[in-house]
């Protein structure tokens, strides 16, 4: 008797909270979708940082380049249309990753390599210069206006799960992000080349003595980082549909925040940081205030760094005396 009463009470509570939980899960998934993209871009930051200790401020603009290249291939040149929508997008993502990797290589060669032995602040400023150059190149080539991927470009299917609506594309987007991240993680941790990369990240001079071509590894990391940024650019372009030459800056800053939150230089950290950032943004907008959202995320970042000065998964390096 008492048990039954309890049960009905619990059920009542459940029912009363049902709506709120639904909304919560919807917001949760919104946060994951945004976070997946942040994580993908944050990976580029983190990898370059891991080997070079350089904040690549131009990374957000490589992301923008990816979006515009994707526009050129998909919309202007209509590549891969015979392969169907998904096939065309996949083809173009691969293509853009290649071109973006090349851009990353050129960037590293011109703007960063000459500064490798120089003061860290110089490299930061050079990166800012590179960001300005790329952004304005895009404006000069494509013009200042908003470019739009046609709405029919992507399959517009809505999936209903437990009474919640999710656009199908979101799963693709999220899945693709996670696949790329996992691929990278295994590449770094399970391959010979990955071992070399980790060695360079720990000690460049020692790696050189062990016969590793450090310059080549750094170039490679830049290329991988740029390729991931470019891929994220195409995906964001196709998914959200509109691209502008200034879009890289806001994504770049968010991804940088994500990378630092997770502990810069740390690949799982970038994923964690990205997801967490997306989640904090989404929850802040949903339950506190959309206008204050970005201030709240920065506040969370500051609190995290006060508690853990090298980010969530960053290693604490004690200085040797």
């Amino acid at each position: 008797m008492i048990v039954a009463e309890r049960l009905s009470w619990v059920l009542k509570l459940r029912r009363g909270h049902k709506l709120n939980m639904e909304v919560f899960f919807q917001q949760f998934s919104n946060g994951l979708a945004i976070g997946g993209i942040y994580a993908l871009i944050a990976l580029g930051y983190t990898m370059v940082y891991g080997v070079l200790r350089l904040i690549n401020f131009a990374h957000g603009d490589l992301f923008t380049s990816g979006a515009f290249l994707g526009y050129t291939f998909l919309v202007s040149l209509a590549l891969g249309q015979s392969a169907g929508t998904v096939g065309a997008i996949l083809l173009v993502v691969l293509l853009v990753m290649g071109v973006a990797a090349f851009l990353g290589y050129v960037l590293e060669r011109c703007a960063y390599r000459p500064l490798r032995r120089s003061n860290r602040l110089n490299a930061v400023v050079s990166a800012i210069g590179a960001s300005i150059v790329i952004q304005n190149s895009i404006m000069l080539i494509y013009g200042p206006q908003v470019l739009v991927f046609p709405a029919g470009m992507k399959p517009n299917v809505i999936v209903e799960i437990f009474g919640l609506n999710f656009p199908l594309m979101r799963f693709f987007l999220f899945g693709a992000s996670v696949m790329l991240m996992l691929g990278l993680y295994f590449f770094i941790n399970r391959t010979r080349l990955g071992t070399a990369i980790r060695a360079v990240a720990i000690d460049q001079d020692a790696s050189r003595l062990m016969g590793i071509d450090v310059s080549q590894i750094i170039s490679l990391m830049f290329m991988i980082g740029a390729a991931l940024g470019g891929a994220a650019g195409v995906m964001v372009g196709v998914y959200y549909g509109q691209i502008t030459f200034t879009m890289g800056w806001i994504y770049g800053l968010k991804a940088f925040t994500a990378a630092i939150m997770g502990g810069i230089g740390n690949i799982p950290g970038a994923m964690l940081g990205g997801m967490l950032l997306g989640m904090v943004e989404s929850m802040a907008a949903a339950y506190i205030s959309a206008g204050w959202k970005d201030a709240i995320t920065f506040l969370v970042l500051i609190v995290i760094l006060i508690c853990r000065p090298t980010g969530l998964l960053g290693e604490r390096v004690a200085e040797k005396i």
């Binding site: 909304v23 945004i34 013009g143 206006q145 709405a151 964001v236 959309a290």
Partner: protein, 371 residues
């Protein structure tokens, strides 16, 4: 070396300019760089065509007109310099600019230098509450538009709305106007917040609004965000009407949202470039389209054109000094035939009359004027 020599020659020529051939200079201050670069480019194209036409027809009483363009970067601090530059080139009057904060930074300079300014996109109320005798605008103020938005909401019969702006000076200003008007009309505002412009994913805000189940969403910001909201609302399977302000009067919105999602979108605006009614306006727009392959993206380039037309009229009738132009614009310009309809200015320098119309985007992606 040659380039440097050429630059020095150019500089010398420019130096010698004022003493040389007689001409009337009119300044255009517009954002050619920064976030609003597209608006600025359209404004510049529009006025350049007008000047060409005017000079081909003999200028103002036989004196050719020269357009001097200064980039304000869409930023108050660089606007300060742009304004000084125009004043320095001894322009008779200035057309522009787009953003309210940007205009505000330049007003004092034009006032101190006694140069007439006609803004084309700055709708903040306080710009004309400062009693500068030489400041006018061809766009209408936020409170006019606020009333038009509130009218549309009540006329369409919505009793419960969400109000969203983007924290820009313009969108916030409009939202601040709309809010009390709606409340006074007995419309319940269930959600009132700002989104962050420039982002791509607004699903969080949409989810939040959806739970509050408003009958309509009023968005006072710009077209890129409006387009994203339309598109993502459809993706999330939530269909309620959205009502926007004149900053969403841009053909790109249909492209961004897609035809299906854009259908049913309402906005309040002066007539867009594509549905101007006057014969002259139609001819001019056709000429523009032929030259640049597309219409101006928004109405603000056309409003800049109206400002230019009014200035030419004033200079023709009253001469090119400050007192003459401002007094003519204040007192004597009545029912002047502009691209966007009759133009007249009140004592504060605001445009007289209500330009605002209610538009709805139909299934074909066309902007349809609502009766």
């Amino acid at each position: 070396m040659k380039k440097i020599a050429a630059m020095i020659m150019l500089a010398l020529l420019a130096w010698a300019g004022p003493g040389g051939a007689q001409e009337i200079k009119i300044g255009l201050m517009c954002p050619l760089t920064g976030d609003w670069a597209q608006e600025g480019r359209d404004m510049q194209r529009f006025l350049e065509m007008q000047v060409e036409d005017l000079n081909a027809a003999g200028g103002i009483k036989g004196i050719p007109v020269r357009l001097i363009v200064a980039d304000d970067g869409g930023n108050p601090r660089s606007a300060n310099l742009a304004a000084q530059r125009l004043v320095e080139s001894q322009v008779a009057a200035v057309v522009g600019t787009y953003g309210s904060a940007v205009t505000e930074a330049s007003q004092g300079i034009y006032d101190e230098a006694k140069v007439v300014q006609i803004a084309n996109g700055s709708t903040a109320i306080r710009l004309t509450e400062k009693h500068f005798t030489g400041f006018f605008r061809t766009c209408t103020r936020d409170d006019f538009q606020g009333r038009a938005v509130a009218r549309a909401v009540t006329r369409l019969g919505f009793r419960k709305v969400a109000l969203v702006h983007d924290n820009s000076s313009y969108a916030k200003g409009l939202a601040v106007e709309v809010e009390p008007l709606l409340q006074a009309a007995g419309v319940e505002i269930v959600y009132y917040d700002a989104l962050t412009p420039g982002e791509r994913d607004y699903s969080t805000i949409i989810t939040k609004m959806k739970t509050l189940s408003p009958e309509a969403v009023v968005f006072t910001g710009y077209y890129p965000e409006a387009g994203m909201i339309l598109r993502q609302m459809q993706e999330m399977g939530w269909k309620v009407p959205i009502i926007g302000g004149d900053a969403t009067n841009n053909l790109t919105i249909v492209e961004i949202a897609g035809r299906e999602a854009a259908a049913g979108y309402y906005f309040i605006s002066p007539p867009g470039p594509q549905d101007l009614s006057g014969e002259e306006a139609k001819a001019f727009m056709a000429e523009y389209e032929a030259k640049y392959g597309q219409m101006p993206g928004s109405i603000f380039a056309v409003l800049a054109g109206d400002a230019f037309k009014a200035l030419v009229k004033a200079i023709t009738e009253a001469g090119s000094d400050y007192e003459a132009i401002s007094s003519y614009l204040h007192n004597d310009l009545k029912n002047f035939d502009g691209f966007t309809g009759p133009i007249a200015f009140d004592a504060k320098g605001d445009r007289v009359g209500d330009l605002f119309r209610l538009y709805r985007i139909d299934g074909e992606g066309k902007f349809v004027l609502q009766p």
